[in-house]
Symmetry: C2
DNA sequence: GTCAGATAGTAAGGTACCTGTCTAATATCA
DNA sequence: TGATATTAGACAGGTACCTTACTATCTGAC
């Protein structure tokens, strides 16, 4: 069945459907590149981990996910041999995440999948159309994030 | 911490953040209306259930979620006393979902929360801006949904 | 009339997020 | 310097989606 959508769909439905497609497209791109063991949440780690290492807490801020989500992504990549964690010499509470040799080899592909999906979608519509969408989403997010707190801040969390 | 986003964020990040805000805003609106026991996925049931009853399969097509997701929403609303299920007289495989008296009383509020969030967001930006976004998402979805199947169709599922 | 294939619903299980609470280590400042 | 607040990370648990696999029933082609 073709996923027909009503004439004037609730915004939430559109956001959900497009976001689902995006996630799936990234997953497909990773598979196509031969990295079936890397899933979308892992891509953030490749994108944001610098050579000097980085704490999980920092990664959560860059990727805008919660600590447990990022911790899990890092743990999985550690098991797969793409990253390793070592104590932070400057902060005994923390551990630094580093890419392994294998991780460094994968990084250009893994961190580029998001961009590739963007490019493919620009082919299907147009670069202008994608830019319009991106700007509309950015503007909306800037405006609404300060409205009656959308997600009440946790006490203990970022 | 203010959720600052990079200058040129991946589209997936924007989609996720805005969608999360939307869901949370609907949840807040339901709470504010005094229906803390109704959560966003339930709203679809109120929106799409007609007086003559409807099968869960039909609801899944209207709301664009999978059978189990909708089944769960209906089961929860049944426990809460908002809907009831009766055998479909025309199809012994199926059961029809009906709103109870209580469900009918709630419907106008529950099914309107999505629209209310849309309106609030239009106040925060502008009606034109929201329409631009909606059209951009619609256009994109129409174009990409036929590209290399985003979610390979299941054998057994709609 | 029978039988292949579609469809309604159920069940079991997975993913990517989220929350709250807790411990250890660090930073602050009266 | 000692009380207090903050931060890093671990752990337990929840939500809203998803998939695959199964049974019962219906439908349409022969």
């Amino acid at each position: 069945m073709k996923e027909t959508i009503p004439e004037n769909p609730p915004l939430g439905l559109l956001l959900r459907l497009v976001h689902q497609h995006w996630t799936q497209a990234v997953d497909n791109a990773l598979d196509a590149a031969g990295f079936g063991d890397i899933r979308p949440p892992h891509a953030n780690v490749f994108t944001f981990t610098p050579a000097e290492g980085i704490q999980v807490s920092e990664l959560t801020k860059l990727a805008h996910v919660r600590k447990q989500t990022m911790t899990q992504a890092v743990e999985e990549l550690e098991k797969l041999g793409y990253v390793e964690r070592r104590p932070d010499p400057n902060d005994r509470r923390g551990r630094l995440v580093f890419l392994t040799g294998r991780g460094k080899a994968v990084r250009p592909i893994a961190s580029a999948t998001g961009r590739k999906v963007d490019e493919r979608w620009a082919e299907l519509t147009s670069a202008e159309e994608m830019e319009t969408l991106r700007q509309a989403l950015r503007l909306l997010f800037e405006k609404v994030r300060d409205d009656v707190p959308a997600r009440p801040a946790s006490d203990t969390d970022g």
